[in-house]
């Protein structure tokens, strides 16, 4: 199993969730994060005090999935989250050694 971690633009969340659902992903965990990267943050101005906001609101998805699904998941995210503009985000994959469903105690793929 793999854990796919995707960082995307917040307003793309609904599209991505829907697209993933269509390729069979049944569970996602979502976190609001702030991203620092190539995309420049906006400027905020308060009574003439000028702040460059370096962190941009992003949304992080974590998806535990079977190894053979990873490519499809990545592709789906790329499609549904992309705008072609800087700051669209990243997808990271790490190896997932174990998974357990708390309610039933099931483990492995059954737990996803």
């Amino acid at each position: 199993m793999k854990l796919v971690i995707a960082i995307i633009k917040p307003f793309k969340l609904d599209d991505v969730r829907e697209a993933l659902g269509e390729v069979g992903v049944q569970g996602i965990t979502v976190t609001e994060v702030k991203g620092y990267g190539r995309q420049k943050g906006h400027t905020e101005l308060y009574r003439g005090a000028e702040y460059v906001i370096e962190f941009i609101p992003k949304v992080k998805l974590e998806i535990a999935t079977n190894a053979d699904q990873v490519d499809k998941v990545i592709e789906t995210i790329c499609h549904s989250a992309g705008t072609g503009q800087i700051g669209d985000g990243k997808i990271f994959v790490v190896d997932l050694e174990q998974a357990t469903r708390i309610r039933t105690g099931e483990t492995g793929s059954d737990a996803l």
Binding site: E44, L45, Y46, R47, G48, A49, E50, Y51, I53
Partner: protein, 443 residues
């Protein structure tokens, strides 16, 4: 032999009697409690209290970082309570009592603790008709002014002052700075020729100068000016600003102590000053920085209100619009200058907005109060502009000097025995937890 009375005589007397209720005697008219004026002044008292809590408290609270939101609310609230007692005990007497031989300097202590003010005591607000309001109400109404002034000051030292020192400071400052200046200008003291309806000197210059002195003495917040310290909740700030505007109607239009034509005109010019000041600041930002901001428009509104405050008893609407316009522009530049050039951390911009606005308004009233349909009541023995400018300038200089000096001394003394500033770790952690064991938000 008695001469029989003629019908004509009777009719003459009757006519005289008939007219009696309609004409006023050349002698003093009978003093009576005017329920209408009293109703308005009771309302104004509520309105001015409303300015400090929740108005100013929310306005300031939204501007600080979320780790300090409660400290600001707490300071406004505690000042309200503490100054109320201080004012009742001593402040009112010093400020508005009759100081007898010393009256040009202070009001003495004869009215301390409400002494000499009976349940039935009246204060005549219209000499020509005898219309009066309860004297207690004058004490109460003025109390709300004594509350808001030190509350304004906390903007200067926000996010870093020890709460206990803030309490000592506020009490001492009300007695040693606010009350005397109030007496000089409004209590028949040596600045009594100043035109200052609702407190350009007493409230705004005083608060601005004290905040500036405190900001310099306490030093900048850690990280200023490099670390961004954006307002944490501008919705609170706009809510507070709006309440300030509404409450300001009581502040200015109540300062004539009557519900009459003067109150209406004062309300109109106050409102126009606020509107113009707000728009002026907004358009300045739009031009200089590319976008108009909500913090900008509300700051311009406060600047407009602070500036029209001393003038609102004398100018007409066109004068008010010009004053509002200049307030928005001048205070805008003053804020930039203090923050960007002098790099003084007057954290919530009390001096550039209230102090500078107050000075501007106190000077401009001499000009527009005597021109452009000013002099609302058509005073017969109007002074010349230059004479009045002299009175105004004197009041400005005296207020700045006295306030700066005394604020400095008070803070020095408190620093000696209690310290002024929280330690660096506490400042990092925020005043809410470290001073009050509480957190603003648990969403």
């Amino acid at each position: 032999m008695k001469k029989p009375i003629t019908k004509k005589f009777i009719i003459a007397i009757s006519l005289a009697l008939l007219l009696l209720p309609l004409v006023s005697f050349s002698a003093e008219p009978k003093v009576y409690l005017s329920a209408g004026d009293t109703a308005w002044m009771l309302t104004c008292t509520a309105l001015v209290l409303f300015m400090t809590i929740p108005g100013l408290a929310l306005f300031y609270a939204g501007l600080v970082r979320s780790k300090n939101v409660l400290s600001v609310l707490m300071q406004c609230f505690a000042i309200t309570c503490l100054v109320s007692l201080v004012w009742f005990a001593l402040g009112f007497s010093i400020a508005l009592g009759n100081g007898g031989a010393m009256n040009s300097v202070w009001g003495g202590l004869a009215n301390a603790f409400g002494n000499g003010i009976d349940f039935d005591s009246l204060y005549t607000v219209d000499k020509s008709t005898g219309a009066s309001i309860p004297k207690i109400l004058v004490l109460m109404f003025q109390m709300t002014f004594a509350i808001i002034t030190p509350a304004l000051i906390i903007g200067g030292f926000a996010e870093r002052m020890k709460f206990s020192s803030m309490l000592w400071f506020s009490a001492a400052w009300v007695l040693l700075v606010y009350a005397p200046v109030c007496h000089w200008v409004w209590g028949g003291g040596f600045l009594k020729d100043t035109w200052d309806l609702a407190g350009g000197t007493v409230v705004h210059i005083n608060a601005g100068v004290a905040a500036l002195v405190a900001a310099i003495m306490l030093g900048r917040r850690k990280g200023f000016p490099n670390t961004p310290m954006p307002p944490h909740n501008l919705a609170l700030t706009v809510a507070g600003a709006s309440m300030l505007w509404v409450g300001w109607f009581g502040f200015n239009a109540g300062s004539g102590l009557m519900a009459g034509n003067a109150a209406a005109m004062t309300m109109l010019v106050t409102h126009l000053g606020a509107s113009t000041g707000a728009l002026a600041w907004m358009f300045m930002e739009w031009k200089k920085f590319g976008k108009p901001s909500v913090l900008g428009i509300v700051t311009g509104m406060v600047a407009g209100l602070g500036t029209i405050t001393p003038a609102s008893g004398h100018v007409g609407p066109i004068g008010a619009i010009i004053i509002g316009l200049s307030a928005g522009i001048v205070c805008f530049y003053a804020t930039q200058y203090l923050k960007r050039v002098l790099k003084i951390d007057d954290s919530l911009d009390v001096m550039p907005v209230h102090g500078v606005g107050g000075i501007l308004g106190v000077m401009l009233v001499a000009v527009f109060g005597l021109t452009l349909d000013g002099l609302q009541k058509g005073v017969a023995d109007a002074p010349s502009i230059s004479t009045q400018l002299g009175h105004q300038a004197l009041a400005v200089v005296v207020t700045i000097t006295w306030c700066a000096l005394m604020t400095f001394i008070i803070l020095k003394v408190i620093d000696k025995f209690n310290g002024l500033r929280v330690n660096s770790d506490d400042e990092n952690e925020g005043l809410d937890i470290t001073q009050h064991d509480e957190k603003g938000y648990n969403f």
